[in-house]
C-alpha cells in the first residue's frame, strides 16, 4: 500500500518534471519564433550577453520574453483559478470564463477606462480584481435563490447568462466612449499587448494569489469530497471558501487585466490534471499551473502562425481547443440519460 503511494507520487513527480521541461522548451520556441524568426544562439546571447545595439536582442528583451512570461503566468493563473473553483463547488463545469468572472473583470476595466482615460495599469488591475469580485458575488447571490440548491449545470447556465449580460454592457460602453479597440481586445483575449509592466502585475499578483492556493490545497481536497465530510473533519468551510474566492479574484483579475478574456483554459486544464494526477489537490493545483502555462504558451504560438503575418486573438485558439472538451463534459454531465 505504502509502496504504491510512494511509487505513484514518484510517477507524478516525473510527469510534472516532463511537463516542466516541455514548458521550458515551448517558451524557448515561443521566444525565438515570430514575425521574424531568431536563431536560438541569438536568443541565448540576448539573455546572457545583451547588446542594446542589436535589433534582435531588443526584440527578444522587450517583446518576446515579456510575452512568453505573460503567457506562462496567465495560463497558470487561469488554470489554478479553475481548479479551485471546481474543487470548492464540486462542479465540473466551473471555471472563470464559464461563470462570467472574466467578463465581470473586463466590464470593470471598461468602466474605469471610460471614467478615467489616463488610469495607470496598476489602477486597471485593481479594477479588474473588483470586477471579478462583483461577478463572483452576483453568481453566489443568484445561486442562493435557486429552488432546492443549484445544480452544477444550472450554475453554469446562469454564469453564461451573466457573462452575456456583462459583455453586452461592455460593448455598449465601448460604443459610447469610442473604446471599441481596447474593449475588442479585452473581450477577444490577446497576448500581443503584453510588456514588462504586464509581467510585473502578474508577478506581484502571483506572489499573493498562488501561495493562498497552495496553502488551501489540502482543505480543497476535503471540500471536494463534500461539505458534510469537511464539517465532520472539523474544517471551517466558510473561511476556506472565502480564502479560495480571494485567491480566484486575484489570479483571474490579474490574468484578465493583462490578456483579456481567454476562455476555456480554466475549464479544461483542471480536468486533464485530475485525470493524470488523481483527486488530491496538493498535486492538482501545482500541476494545473504547469499544464495551464503549457497550454497557453502553445496556443499563443498557434495564434501567431494560423494567420501569419497577422495575429489571431489567443482566446479564439483556446476556444477552439476548449469547445470539444466542453461538449464532452456537457454530454457527460448534462442531466441524466434523456
Amino acid at each position: 500500500m505504502l509502496n504504491t503511494i510512494k511509487h505513484s507520487s514518484m510517477l507524478k513527480t516525473i510527469i510534472n518534471c516532463i511537463a516542466l521541461l516541455m514548458l521550458i522548451l515551448s517558451v524557448v520556441i515561443s521566444i525565438s519564433y515570430g514575425s521574424t524568426s531568431i536563431p536560438f544562439e541569438t536568443v541565448w546571447s540576448a539573455i546572457f550577453s545583451f547588446d542594446t545595439d542589436v535589433t534582435s536582442h531588443q526584440v527578444i528583451q522587450e517583446i518576446r520574453i515579456p510575452r512568453a512570461i505573460s503567457a506562462v503566468l496567465v495560463g497558470a493563473f487561469l488554470a489554478v483559478s479553475g481548479s479551485i473553483m471546481q474543487g470548492m463547488t464540486r462542479n465540473p463545469l466551473a471555471s472563470p470564463s464559464i461563470l462570467g468572472v472574466t467578463d465581470g473583470a473586463a466590464l470593470s476595466l471598461v468602466i474605469m477606462l471610460a471614467a478615467f482615460p489616463m488610469i495607470s495599469s496598476m489602477g486597471l488591475t485593481v479594477a479588474s480584481f473588483v470586477g471579478a469580485g462583483l461577478a463572483v458575488a452576483l453568481i453566489l447571490f443568484i445561486g442562493s435563490f435557486s429552488k432546492g440548491g443549484i445544480t452544477p449545470v444550472k450554475l453554469a447556465l446562469a454564469g453564461v447568462a451573466i457573462g452575456t449580460t456583462l459583455r453586452s454592457i461592455s460593448t455598449i460602453l465601448s460604443l459610447h466612449f469610442n473604446l471599441e479597440k481596447e474593449v475588442g481586445f479585452w473581450l477577444a483575449g490577446e497576448l500581443s499587448g503584453t510588456s514588462w509592466s504586464s509581467v510585473n502585475i502578474l508577478f506581484f499578483s502571483g506572489i499573493i494569489g498562488l501561495p493562498i492556493a497552495f496553502f488551501l490545497a489540502k482543505s480543497i481536497t476535503v471540500l471536494s469530497l463534500g461539505e458534510d465530510m469537511a464539517t465532520n473533519l472539523g474544517q471551517n468551510s466558510l473561511l476556506i471558501k472565502a480564502l479560495g474566492i480571494i485567491s480566484i479574484l486575484i489570479l483571474t483579475g490579474a490574468a484578465v487585466s493583462v490578456a483579456g478574456v481567454v476562455g476555456f483554459v480554466g475549464l479544461i486544464v483542471p480536468h486533464i490534471t485530475r485525470f493524470i494526477m488523481g483527486t488530491d489537490y496538493k498535486w492538482i493545483i501545482p500541476s494545473s499551473a504547469i499544464f495551464g502555462a503549457l497550454l497557453l504558451v502553445l496556443s499563443d504560438l498557434v495564434s501567431r502562425y494560423i494567420n501569419a503575418p497577422f495575429e489571431t486573438p489567443v482566446g479564439a485558439i483556446t476556444s477552439l481547443i476548449g469547445v470539444p472538451f466542453f461538449l464532452y463534459l456537457a454530454r457527460k454531465s448534462g442531466g441524466g440519460d434523456k
Partner: protein
C-alpha cells in the same frame, strides 16, 4: 367547453388588438426618433405626401425600411423561439442561446468573404440562403451532439452554448482574413444591429416570412400535440419524429433568415413565447400569432430605446434585447426543476 373556447377567442382578439395598437404607436415614436429629429406633425404630414423632401428622404428611405425590417425580424425570431420551445418541451430554448444564430452568422461571414474573393456571386438575395444553410448546419450539429437516447432540455442548451462558443471563435479567426472595414461592419451586425436597412433588404427577407409563417400556422395542431410529450403524442397517432423534424426545419429557417437580415439577436426568441403563454395559455394557434405581435413590439421598442438612451451613440438592438432578457433567462433557470 364551447363557451370556454369562445371566451378564449375573444380574449385572443382583445389582446391582439391592444398589441397591434401598441405596435402602431411605437412605429410613430420610432419614426420620429433618430439623429435628425422630426416632430409628430411632420411625420404625419410626410406620410400624407405634404412634407419636405428632406423629411421624405429620412422617413421613407431610412427609417421606414429599418422599422419594417425590425418588425419582420422580431416576428421571425419570436416564432422560431416558440416552435423550438414547443418541440423540445423546453422553456429555455432559443435560437440565440443554442448557437443557431451564430451558425447563421458564420455562414454569412463566409459568404461575404467568398464573394469578396470572387468565388461566388455577391447578391443580397443569397444572404438569407447562406444564413439558413449555416443555421441548419448548427441545428444539426447541436441535435447530434446532444442526442443520448433522446435529447434532454438542459443538455441541449449546454451543447448549444458550446457550439455557440466554437462558431464565435471561427468568426474571430476569419475576422483577420477580411477587409478591416468589412469586418467592423460584420462585428456590429453580429452583435445584433439592423444593418443595411433599405428596401432591397426588406424585399429579400419578406418572402421568407410570408412563406414560412403560414406553414407554421398550418402546423399548430401538431405543435400542440408535441408539447404534450412524445409518449402522449405517439399515443394520439401523431408521427412524432416527422412532425418534429418539419417544425424544427421551419424554426431554423426562420431564425436563419432573421439573422441574415438583422444579425444575431439573442434572447428575443426566448422571452417572447413566455410572455405569450402568460397572456393566453398553452395553445399554439394563439401563442404563435401573439408571439409575432409581441416580437414585433419588443424589437421596435428595443431599437428605439437603443437609439435614445445614450444618444448620439446608437446601441445595437441585440444588445438592448439581451440586457433586458438575460435576467429573465436566469429567473427561468432557477425556477426550472
Amino acid at each position: 367547453m364551447s363557451g370556454n373556447s369562445n371566451s378564449k377567442k375573444r380574449k385572443f382578439f382583445g389582446i391582439s388588438f391592444i398589441l397591434i395598437a401598441l405596435i402602431i404607436i411605437m412605429i410613430f415614436i420610432s419614426l420620429r426618433t433618430g439623429v435628425i429629429s422630426i416632430s409628430f406633425q411632420e411625420v404625419i404630414e410626410t406620410i400624407f405626401q405634404q412634407g419636405s423632401d428632406r423629411n421624405k428622404l429620412v422617413l421613407f428611405e431610412f427609417r421606414l425600411p429599418a422599422i419594417i425590417l425590425a418588425i419582420l425580424i422580431g416576428i421571425g425570431l419570436a416564432v422560431s423561439g416558440a416552435i423550438l420551445q414547443g418541440i423540445t418541451q423546453n422553456e429555455l430554448a432559443d435560437p440565440g442561446i443554442m448557437g443557431i444564430n451564430t451558425g447563421a452568422g458564420l455562414a454569412v461571414v463566409l459568404y461575404l468573404f467568398l464573394s469578396r474573393e470572387g468565388f461566388v456571386v455577391s447578391s443580397i438575395w443569397m444572404m438569407p440562403v447562406a444564413a439558413m444553410i449555416g443555421a441548419l448546419f448548427a441545428a444539426f450539429l447541436i441535435y447530434i451532439l446532444a442526442w443520448k437516447k433522446g435529447v434532454s432540455p438542459i443538455r441541449l442548451i449546454l451543447v448549444g452554448i458550446g457550439i455557440n462558443a466554437g462558431f464565435a471563435a471561427f468568426i474571430t479567426i476569419f475576422q483577420l482574413k477580411m477587409d478591416p472595414q468589412d469586418f467592423r461592419q460584420v462585428a456590429v451586425w453580429l452583435s445584433g444591429d439592423i444593418w443595411n436597412a433599405n428596401w432591397n433588404t426588406v424585399l429579400a427577407f419578406l418572402p421568407w416570412i410570408v412563406i414560412l409563417i403560414p406553414l407554421v400556422l398550418r402546423k399548430v395542431n401538431a405543435l400542440n400535440v408535441l408539447t404534450l410529450g412524445d409518449d402522449l403524442a405517439s399515443g394520439l397517432g401523431v408521427n412524432v419524429e416527422r412532425d418534429r423534424q418539419i417544425l424544427l426545419l421551419l424554426a431554423v429557417a426562420l431564425a436563419g433568415a432573421s439573422v441574415s437580415a438583422g444579425g444575431a439577436i439573442a434572447f428575443l426568441g426566448l422571452i417572447v413565447p413566455h410572455i405569450a403563454r402568460k397572456l393566453i395559455g398553452p395553445l399554439h394557434q394563439y401563442i404563435i400569432p401573439l408571439s409575432m405581435f409581441i416580437g414585433a413590439l419588443l424589437i421596435i421598442t428595443a431599437d428605439t430605446v437603443g437609439k435614445v438612451i445614450l444618444a448620439p451613440t446608437e446601441i445595437p438592438v441585440g444588445i438592448v434585447v439581451s440586457i433586458i432578457s438575460a435576467p429573465y433567462f436566469i429567473y427561468l433557470l432557477l425556477k426550472a426543476t
